[in-house]
Amino acid sequence: MKNSNGQVIETHGLSKAYKNVVALKSLDLKVAKHSIFGFLGPNGAGKTTTIKLLLGLARPTSGTGSIFGDDIQHQSVEIRRHVGYLAQDPRYYESMTARETLRFTLGFFFTGPKNKIEERIAETIELVGLEDKADRSIRGFSGGERQRLGIAQAQVNYPDLLILDEPAASLDPMGRHDVLEVMERLRKYTTIFYSTHILDDVQKVSDTVCILNHGELVAEAPIQELLAGNGKVVFRLQTRGDTEQIRSLIAGQPWVTAVQFEQSDGRADWQISVSDLNAAEDQLLGLAISVPGVKVISFCQSKYDLEEVFMNLVGGNNHGKQ
């Protein structure tokens, strides 16, 4: 594997238009070695287009990209020597069995020794739980079995980079769990770049997330940073008692940027946005407690879940629209 400054994937202004439709707009991306990089976005956001550009299956309209330092347009075959790829809707030769498919796949990377090749195939089949289907024609495989085979063929050569397009989309909850487990297990050996719209999966395994919408990058950050609210610090407070006194006291602090609350059943749920995390941590709870007749039921820093972040960034009313 070539030295590429710790970055496995790098793109600069990568764009793709099909006739009059812009599928990807000036994407700048950096994927670090050994990361699990979640590539998020609604349908039609440009995720699959990006993957196809990276693999040389489509040509960029403008911009550049590299994988392991090799140019995605001119050194595509060399790049694919180090990459395993699972397509969104994986298709294989129906007349082949799963074992033959893996043998065929491995044949593009290695020539022998034969016993080692067969060992690797058997090990990979076991990894994805297809032992009892290994010698049956793919023609009769279910969607989930095809997906498992897809993961097997993507990683049978132990690639330095695994590119997975919606790897868990057609799997049942158990299958999804297995796929995430496999990804976790492979993390120390390889870099995983995967697209998905299943936010729960991203939150479980990714360490960096990129969100794409209408072909544009709308966010890219380590998952923890993104879950912390995209830079905004918000505290949640639940109180009982006089709300007006608390509101005026808290809103008067120089480090408080916004105060919102909702009342129900005699309780008030507060969302307090602050500009200074330390000041808020030191003083906010004390201020609330200091108000006579007010009881604090709970107090915590707000953590977004990914769905909330995603919906904030992408918006709920334009899903899939170009």
Partner: protein, 281 residues
Amino acid sequence: MASNNEFEAVRNQGQLQGFGNLMHKENRLWWRTSRWWVQTLIWLAISNGILLMVIGVAPKMENPPGQNSNAQSGETQQPLDILGLTVFLKIAGIATAIGVAVLAQDTLIGEKQSGTAAWVLSKPVSRSALILSKVIANSTGILISMVIVPGIIAYLIIYFIAGKAYPVLPYAGALGMFFVSLLFWLTLAIMLSSLSSTRGLAIGIPLFLILGFILFVEIAPFTADFMPWSLTNVVSATRPAMAVSLVLGQPIPTLMPLFGSIIGSLVFTMVAIWRFQKEEF
């Protein structure tokens, strides 16, 4: 997890990267599925079946015992062996060519539409290797199942029914010409499949050219110089079927159609490679 150090890596083969593996797969599709015997049976039934009908059954029906139709009608008929050879190569030149065009369009369009081409090209494979593997493996399959096997059976039918054993080398040369004509249609259909994903176009154009040769020769006689029509068919009074002439030891007016077909096949293959390099998935 073990490492890849225990394996011998496939070396860099440039424009032929992945060719060996793809050839293995394409050959497997021919020889380790039902395709080879299905194709062989089809062309045995069509080419040799019609030959058998024409020289084995039809003369007996036309000439019931005790009658001599030739004598009655005064017609001059071709000797049975020449009739057989002509019919076999004519059927071969038209029916088998149609079969090749139908088979060939699916080899690439089928893969483009099903998504297997995109899958294969996500591996370290050059696009030229993919096209070449299809041309070479299908050529081999066609050569054996549509040319050699039916050709040998036709030889035996003519020998046993018409009592004529043609010299082997000229006969092999005639089969070679037959194969060149099929190679032309194969590469044409593959080229059209690379230019378009419309099956109708990839089948329609070869069919139009195969079936409409008389029309083309009427309108533009020069087309017979570089098209494969006259390799196996009588195109005009001055253009006998070259393969028949070769077997019978008769003079061949020109070798242009043979060279034209070979050059055409090479050009079609190169265009297919060039176009497939630009294909997006």
